[in-house]
Amino acid sequence: MHRRRWLIHVVLRALSHRKGRTVLLLAVLAMASSLATALGIVSYSMEKRVAEEVRKYGANLIIVPDSARLDVGSGGLNFGVISEPTYLQQRQVEDALAKSALKAERSFHLRGALHHKDADIMVEGVNFSDVRRLFPWWQLTGNWPTAGEVVVGKDLADRLKLKAGDIMECAGKAQTMRLRISGIVSSGGEEDGLLFLALSDLQRALGLEGQLSLIRLMVTAGGETLKKSAASLQMLLPTAKVNEVRQTARTSEGLLAKVKLLMLMVTAVVLISAGSSVAGTMSTTVLERSKEIGLMKAIGGTRWEVMLIFCGEAAMLGVLGGVAGYLFGSVIAQFITRTVFAASAEFVPWFLFVSLGISLFLALLGSLGPMVSVFKLDPVRSLRGE
């Protein structure tokens, strides 16, 4: 029989001989690794969920032109500040985003006014595919526009008595357009008072080809990463102001940090108590088996060879405990996310390795002290039962 096969055989025999103790150790290891796995999966799932929730709040970086400001006053009087509308070059922004290698959802905007029936109305040029991705909470009655179509904010539609299917004639500085209303949109915010049309159409109508007045970015990161992203973009766009939407960032960052800290603390407590339990049980096992250890040494086992058998037992328990822990942990994670967070946890296969690692680490670490005893045990004294 191959030596390795024999070793596994002996390890399995030893474990099955002490069923009660083996089951106890397995239960401790499985419990520890399952809790660590469950909390890890919950944390991982919640991190993703929170990130998704944060996405719903909208952009977390906003880029606007650094407008020219002029103080207006006379003598000792100050009448305030006026600023001239300025724009950002679309190509310059795209280049800067490419250079920064920032992972972000983007949405380009141009705001302006179009003349309609003796009045000016506020309009915003957007790419509707970006809007749909970044602002999924916008509620639309009708359809998203195709070429030559627009959507009207709910308040504006009410004010002008517009409805889907109506044709609007709007005049810009450079061009007049006939636009068909494809739907009425509501966001619950300032967007309800605007008319939305394709970015390129508005740029042409206003004679502002390639110009933008606002860029919204949804960076999938928080805290320091977001700050660094804002700083690097600011360097690349000196004529712009890159603003971090701090509240959103802080909310997501704070929530995630608290959840993670809680998970880490619970996991640490569980692992420490499980480690102590394993160490205690393994010490008792070694003590009970001192004659067996002495015999193995007496018939020619070196200290390392005998220790290998006991390490093999600990490792086997670690592997079995890790697999059981992963399975239980996945179930517990589902239970926690469903009952506490009203969501379902993801099935994360690579957490099997985390569970195995934790269980093996605990089993071997807990066996460290007893292994030293195995190593040092004197065969003559242990055979005498001293």
């Binding site: 002996v10 002495g294 015999l295 040494k297 018939i299 020619g300 086992g301 003559v380």
Partner: protein, 238 residues
Amino acid sequence: MSSAFCPVKRERLLRMAENIIETNGLTRNYGDICALKPLDLQIPEGEWLSVMGHSGSGKSTLMNLVGGLDRPSAGSLQVGGKDLLALNEDGLARFRREFVGIIFQQHHLVPYLTAVENVMMAQYFHSVPDEAEARHALERVGLGHRLKNRPGELSGGEQQRVCIARAIINSPKLLLGDEPTGNLDHKSTVMVMELLKELRAEERFTVVMVTHNQEVAGWGDRTIYLDDGVLVREERMR
């Protein structure tokens, strides 16, 4: 000068060929207690030496020392040409598995392994476990029908025979017996001793057997008597 012609080394080599065990001033102290007082002893290869004495006379101490299970406090100890004092703990373990077979009074079998697996354990530490060889060893000691039984399912005599099979499986040059019949009835004692005699005739190993029993000691070629760690008498049986 070539080592082959060095008179001192040559004499030593010749002596080695004759004596498997040589001790000079071999001493073992446990704290203030001197378990074995300076002992000069030669055991020729192939001899069956019985060691007798009362409890605490130093018999087991001597056996543990020559078996490489314990280290002397002073003196020299050569076994099979090896200076045991020069070996570290793992070196002694390797010496034991290569050179020594041990039969214990308490049998000391691994409780969760079957008879054949207990024999294979000694093979594992020596080289490679071989079930066929282990079965054969058990058949030689008359336990061919008890291969798959665990120690708890065997009688004292049967357990001792498993212990003997384990001791001889690696063809040791030296067989040590620590009161191997101490826990057996008369019938089992005779059976075990006859078995050892047969095996010794086949394998030609040297036997050092510690015993309280004069009758068991009579199976040997020579008996030494220890008292309070001192060799007090020697008796040649044949």
